[in-house]
Symmetry: C2
Subunit: 229 residues, 2 copies
Amino acid sequence: MSVTQPVRSPRRRAPRNSLNADRILDAAIALLDRDGAEAFTMRALAQELGVGTMAVYSHFRGKDEISDAVAQRLMDTIELPRTGTGDPRGELREVCRGVYRLFTEHPSALQLLTIRPLRGDDAIAVIDRMLDLLRRAGLDRTAAARAHVALMQYTVGSALWNTRRARALCEEGVRDRVRAKLDALPADRYPALVSLAPELLCAQDQRTEQYEFGLDGILDGLLGGGRGL
Amino acid sequence: MSVTQPVRSPRRRAPRNSLNADRILDAAIALLDRDGAEAFTMRALAQELGVGTMAVYSHFRGKDEISDAVAQRLMDTIELPRTGTGDPRGELREVCRGVYRLFTEHPSALQLLTIRPLRGDDAIAVIDRMLDLLRRAGLDRTAAARAHVALMQYTVGSALWNTRRARALCEEGVRDRVRAKLDALPADRYPALVSLAPELLCAQDQRTEQYEFGLDGILDGLLGGGRGL
DNA sequence: ACCTGAACACCGTTCAAGT
DNA sequence: ACCTGAACACCGTTCAAGT
């Protein structure tokens, strides 16, 4: 029978060397940010690139190696504030906000980043900068190390919390169901919660303000002289 | 040919009603804590129960529903300190430590818990208690709501960070590789990091002390009067 | 009703083969 | 060397069937 070429040709063979590690990482980040971590699939990634699934394996050993490379690449996009004349506290605040912004701008990559936080030249530069600022703020060696870890933990936790929330709230009706559940709580059993329900919902909406509220509190507590009373 | 019964009989049929939601949740938590989240599989869960894969579906709609129930069950195991005569700050500290302990004792369930933190009667009681204590500590309505969220975010972030670290460090040789990497860093480029490397490694090892260091800092900052200088 | 295996549409990855 | 599809061992879940 005379047939034309199949209407939907499955895919013409990709020209040699049209694929490389950079293109793959770009596509991976785009895929993660657009469709979320659970859609980050070798098959989906290959399709995003217009290429057979196995083509990617010529450039990376496997999915884990791609994840690592994505995490490293993202960390390298953090911009450090100019090493200022200003106070250490203000600079520290800026560095933390930069890390937080990165985490929330690439929500799906956040979990990749929390696994091995010590990758990438710029990530290391961030850590070095934070430690330096903490020392200059007057903390001793042990306190500086601990304060750095605490700040990173808070930042990771805050970003994770907010992105999970944001994703959940995207689903239809979740917002109303949460509100209804809060309204249905017995006020005699949970008086504080029922009373503060509006403020709680508001706090979760104003995510940047919420992060900065906690950040300022932590910085006050860690830098401000000693255990206050 | 004459054959005996197969040496390994695949599985005798489970007696009726030997399975129920509680047994399934017990097995799920055991599986999660023992083998980790990535081993939490419907097939593995059924095997743990000595039952066909699909038997579980008679009691739960699917894996998501089991995850939700696990999260709720775990949250209900948090013990609140006796509503003390003591200072709000000390009680608040105890509640946070309880939440942190739960998160670290069930590391694999942590991610389940971060998705929908508002499930379960006891979880709600924890929230109510924290809000009440924050109010009694003198915070206004907005500050109490924000402080509660910040404390939860820090606690989740800290538990997540530590359990990821702990799991990574279990792998053979990771510990030495991290140390080697830190030693190999150019001291002129990252002076603070190289100098504080021992303190950093130490801070990540002493996990409970690290959590409490940050917790005390946050409590100081949030409760101690105003922005210090 | 409760439990079962077969089957379906996915997943990451191995392998032998094309160019 | 770079890219390909077929195949393998997994996964969650649907379905028709057994008891």
